[in-house]
Amino acid sequence: MTYAHGKHAAPTTFLSKYVFSYDHKVIGKQFLWYGIFFLGVGGMMALLIRWTLAFPGEAFPVLGHLLFPHTDGVVPPDTYSMLFTLHGTIMIFFAITPILIGAFGNYCIPLMIGARDMAFPLFNMLSFHIAVVSGVLLMASLFTPLGGAAGGWTSYPTLSTLVGSPGSGQTLWCLSIFVLGISSTMGAVNYITTVICFRAPGMGYFDMPLTIWGLWLTAILNAIFLPVLGAGVMLLTFDRVFGTTFFLAGAAATSGSGDPILFQHVFWIFGHPEVYILILPAWGIVSDLLSFFARKPAFGAKATALSMTTITILSTLVYGHHMFTTQMSPLLTQTFMTLTMTISIPSAILFANWLGTIYKGSIRFDSPMLFSLGVVFVFGLGGLTGLYLGTVSTDLYLHDTYFVVGHFHYTMAASVLLGGYAATYFWFPKMFGRMMDETLAKIHFWLTMIGLNGVFMGMMVVGFAGMHRRLYNPFVYEFLEKLIPINKFITYSALLMGVGQLPFVWNFVYSLYKGKKAPQNPWNVGTLEWTIPSPPIHYNFEEIPTVKCGPHEFGNPNLPEGKDFQYQTEELA
């Protein structure tokens, strides 16, 4: 509230404008391209995985012979392990994180709180460049002699130590994650400081759009818990490179033993908050968009913000539910089970507020709204199926089956993906100054929605039938043979979902150059980024705006005829 950036001349050369730019808008777009690239890579890996599961031993069409010439186009088992490891790693750390946190965090935070830039522009630029280094390290691991990391994205020792994965692929994976951790921590420090110090005059914490709340809480979790992961992968790297024995036990530990479970503790202390790191921005965006397109103030905005904060705090206390099968003491197990269940109180409040927002609204079904409603649907399913996994006795059966895979894809992949698309369709006009095509967007929505529900619902079904995860060929087990048709159905749904992304790619690229010119405020929304031209000028605001009302002022009966919203810079009618 106290500080604002001075103005400098806009950069002119290509390098200073697009590569070494300090401008948060450019860095946001850089993260967007980076994330979309990795989203494509991770998505292709998902299709390879799905193909192998539905048609074991059959050559992958078209690309198979190119990628796996030694096996006639069939994905070999060791490659399969690398594929699901990298699919997980890429989607979590290199696709979702850059798109939702990197791109929309960078782009939206200063614009929505009325700042000219992030608190530390240089830091911000370095954060992206370090993320690129990390991406290069990860891709390089694929080209090492023994191939990339193959121990799952959780990389539990001792499988991820030299006992289970020799070769430098896993080491590069560790380094890549460590470097990415540095990048994200730098970003998080920037976000938190910017939100604390650079809110426009008059903007209290509860006058911030809920998007900013989500991004801010995410940044806080990032700053606190990424170092924990950093410590974990650092010790793992020591084990791999210098021969320490932190995580070695059993026959491999010839002199005194470490403890592989230690890594699981450290990993999930980070890992559970990470789940919320990914979902919080999406929650924030959805909470805002539901209000924007229902043309009605967000129902219980303060309660929503506080629920998100409560979940942030609770998320740090429940990590043990990932480790029920390691036989912790019964007392710890019961504690974690009960704590896990408390998360449903704030989650239920979130849902009540979302539905309260659209209740008695005047809903416009533009594409961002469709995707937001989609998030409410899929997150409902994802959140509720968590109940089965938080209860110990059902978890002992369902743990490490496809039920878990379906559950976390509903929460982390489906919700976040739909939330990301909602944000993309919503802010595209502001980012690039052009509109995206609505018809294509709606086709994209329905194909994605049908595809992803087919995939993830199917996964939960085969999971309950007992199919466990990370199997190259599940059908070597007799009791799983009957699931082949359902696996085929899942794969077809995945293909449908993959095909469904083509309209988006076309729409995105076409609109970038040929789209209709966007007006300053195409959605008639009152937050600060819509008070300036699309795309915004260098340094965003000519004059730092003064905020006089909340972000969700819609349908106020005192507004003049023909106007149903007001800008945050206007006095409350």
Binding site: A251, Q327, M341, T385, T391
Partner: protein
């Protein structure tokens, strides 16, 4: 094969496996009811209050006392009606059944399990009733147990983490190097079933399966007698690798708590 039959979980062969299925069904009913409310709101409101049908919005922040109370009540109802209920049920199941391990001296079948990449090794005590002696019955890939009698497993791993999974008994537990974990169930059906490794353990994780043979008491006795005879002549007492077991009681102190000491498996080798 009908659809429902196709997606049904494997048949239950233990005395307590049905508890998992029952809790699953109960949770499903709760989830469906709650999700029905969400869908009702989502679809009905979307229809009723679309811009076409409703242009006049209700201008409210949702922060009136009544509205806040309503949201809070929803949250707390969900917690008490759904969550605490299933937590209590699950806890009862765990304490009465899954954590209620057979007592010392009870007449049960005892098996030690060693997981390794990518194989399951099983060890029955021989005629002397002691583990890790020359007359132990060693099998791999095949586990033989009698029906109707509790069987307790003490499980460890030689190299990486595995997970010992009986889909038919609805239970699994991790096999961890340096620790002994344990599990019990009481088989109720004679037959041959699958044992799986549920934790990613390397390239051939998918091949790491074993067969569970549940015998009638007579047929188990016959198998055991034959196997013990074979063990007497077949076991190579010189081969140190055969002595991966431990005395059963040693597992008592270690099982189910995190105190493990240096590398159980190796100690027996030295």
């Amino acid at each position: 094969m009908g659809f429902l039959e196709r997606i049904a979980p494997p048949e239950i062969i233990s005395t307590n496996g049905h508890l998992v299925d029952e809790l699953f069904t109960y949770t499903t009913v709760m989830v469906v009811i709650f999700f029905a409310f969400v869908c009702y709101g989502l679809f009905w409101f979307s229809y009723k209050y679309s811009a076409k049908r409703n242009s006049k919005v209700d201008y409210t922040y949702g922060n009136r006392k009544k509205q806040l109370k309503a949201t809070l009540i929803i949250g707390i109802l969900v917690f008490f009606v759904i969550d605490l209920n299933i937590t209590r049920m699950s806890n009862d199941d765990m304490i009465n059944e899954f954590w209620n391990f057979p007592k010392k001296g009870e007449d049960i079948t005892r098996v030690q399990v060693l997981a390794q990449q990518w194989m399951w090794n099983f060890r029955h005590a021989g005629a002397d009733g002691k583990f890790n002696t020359a007359d132990d019955v060693l099998t791999n890939h095949d586990l033989h147990i009698p029906v109707g009698k509790k069987v307790e497993f003490r499980i460890t791993s030689k190299d990486v983490i595995h997970s010992f999974f009986f889909p038919n008994a609805r239970i699994k537990v991790d096999a961890m190097p340096g620790r002994i974990s344990r599990m019990w169930f009481q088989p109720t059906k004679v037959g041959t079933f699958d044992i799986a490794c549920a934790e990613m353990c390397g390239t051939h994780h998918y091949m790491m399966k074993a067969k569970l043979h549940v015998h009638s008491p007579e047929s188990y006795a016959a198998w055991k007698a034959e196997a013990e005879e074979l063990a007497k002549v077949g076991n190579d007492t010189e081969n140190i690798d055969n002595y991966w077991g431990w005395s059963w009681d040693m597992g008592d102190d270690m099982a189910n708590n995190s105190n493990s000491d240096d590398s159980v498996v190796m100690k027996e080798n030295n």
